[in-house]
Subunit: 304 residues, 2 copies
């Protein structure tokens, strides 16, 4: 089952020819979610050949322009491409005001339903749920209100092995009980335990998005054990003071969070335009957390 992240933009507020502002697509079991939507997101989407129209849910971390200025054009383009299915946007409530003002002044309509869902300011909250996935928000520590998001696969039920279904001639009702973890009685009176006929389901995987944020130790509890952690590293340690002033993190600090929350792998991003070579971010982080990579736009990273 697919679980991966495609980076559309991993630059900070000042775009360069190489790096666009924040945006990424999370693919969970072929359902697509957009996380942040900086200016140029729709161009990057076209370049990546991700299908626009499959995205139904958009999560916006905070209302600094480099995380949402691409949303207006993106929503408009979906109308022009004939979209009819709803779009859900999860963000600070003021985003709804500005999207609606844009539509009003341009005397435009969308042609599909657009629903806004406010991201809570404190604590961790489930924003989205379906049969196989949950998406939760949690606060980050930034200059303005800012949320991170964690995508968690749900624990799948036990699987009854096919050869066991045949061997014991199991009925649908018995299979349902076994998948729940309950023993069932066979026609000959024997009791069959799930462990005898089931195989364990795959371990649920998870992905966390933490951008933008200063060092925030409490964060670890909300993203504990994620398989892949995208954490901002706007600066290197040489600019630690600037990171403090602007409520951002260094690559070392991102690595410290990966260690603290026991992440499987660390994906660094939100690089300041002052650094020409992003390899230095991974180099710096490696001293603290070995399994780390600096994000590259257009690349896709597997979760788990």
């Amino acid at each position: 089952m697919t679980f991966e992240v495609t980076i559309l933009g991993c630059g900070a507020a000042l775009p360069t020819l190489q790096q666009y502002p924040s945006a990424q697509v999370v693919n969970v079991h072929d359902k697509l979610f957009l996380v942040d939507c900086g200016e140029g997101t729709q161009v990057r989407l076209r370049q990546s050949s991700v299908r626009f129209q499959k995205i139904g849910h958009i999560f916006i971390s905070h209302l600094h322009g480099d995380h949402y200025h691409g949303l207006f054009g993106y929503l408009s383009t979906m109308r022009l491409l004939g979209r009819k299915t709803p779009v859900h946007v999860y963000a600070q409530p003021a985003l709804e005001d500005i999207v609606k003002l844009n539509l009003r002044i341009s005397e435009s309509y969308l042609g599909y339903d657009l629903f806004f869902h406010a991201t809570p300011d404190a604590g961790s909250h489930m924003l989205f749920e379906d049969h196989s996935l949950e998406v939760w928000s949690f606060p980050l520590r930034h200059r303005i209100k800012c949320n991170g998001f964690v995508f968690r696969e749900k624990q799948r039920a036990l699987n009854v092995k096919k050869n066991m279904v045949r061997r014991y001639q199991l009925q649908p009702s018995q299979i349902i009980e076994l998948k729940k973890g309950n023993p069932v009685a066979l026609s000959d009176g024997r009791v069959l335990n799930p462990a005898e006929v089931c195989q364990a389901p795959p371990r649920p995987r998870s992905y966390a998005y933490c951008s933008d944020t200063a060092v925030y130790p409490e964060l670890a509890s909300w993203i504990s054990g994620v398989d892949l952690l995208y954490h901002e590293s706007t600066f290197l340690e040489t600019e630690k003071r600037r990171a403090r002033e602007t409520f951002h993190s260094t690559a070392t600090e991102a690595a410290e969070m990966a260690l603290r929350c026991n992440a499987g792998r660390l994906l660094l991003g939100h690089f300041s335009a002052r650094y020409a070579d992003t390899a230095a971010f991974a180099e710096e982080a490696k001293a603290v957390f070995a399994n780390v990579v600096a994000a590259v736009e257009g690349e896709t990273y597997r979760v788990g």
Copy 2:
């Protein structure tokens, strides 16, 4: 003296990998003016190596997103690059509301003065003037209120030839009078006429920007005799009905306006994403107006 237009975006509302939404830089005597600012304008500016910070005046034709969605990021980037000199924006008044709402919700400031000037809805009005240039607005015929702009060099004064200054030992006060076109008395009592000692100044040149608009014959009076006319041609004649419905023009109709207003050269733009090859626009227009070219992003076109 430089007078030229660099095309940053000449696509219509739906951006493609080849065409960005509307934006262009007009360079008049090395003063830079931005006309429209679709999403991605700042990326195109970087690609074109135009210096962001030299632009002090921005003219926005109308409030459809493909003509202003790049403004927020552009203004923010100028702050990040340390701009201190003022920026003037000429647009429908609602643009000020939306720019200010963007700044408020992101708790951002600009660090330089930003002045908004409302574009009038009817008639032709001078928006900007300095010693060598005037910029005028005029209405276009679109689904919402929309303005075109015309950049006109001022008529320069007569030039007194250097050898004549020496020959007649002209004083500064006499030179000033001659440049105004007035005769002056020499010390020997002889009257010197300007025609004897002056050379004619160069003919003033002009450039008009007309996007977006349906066919609008009255337009010709405001842009009469421009050296270069940028006129939208969203569609070809085969889609004339669609042009009517959406208040846009075909390439033929743009050429008819170039003929009607006695333009020197026609530059076509605002091409619908449905056309893979923009050469067809110039081909179609040529049957009506010979001196025509289809705009190409990144290219610069001389005025006059």
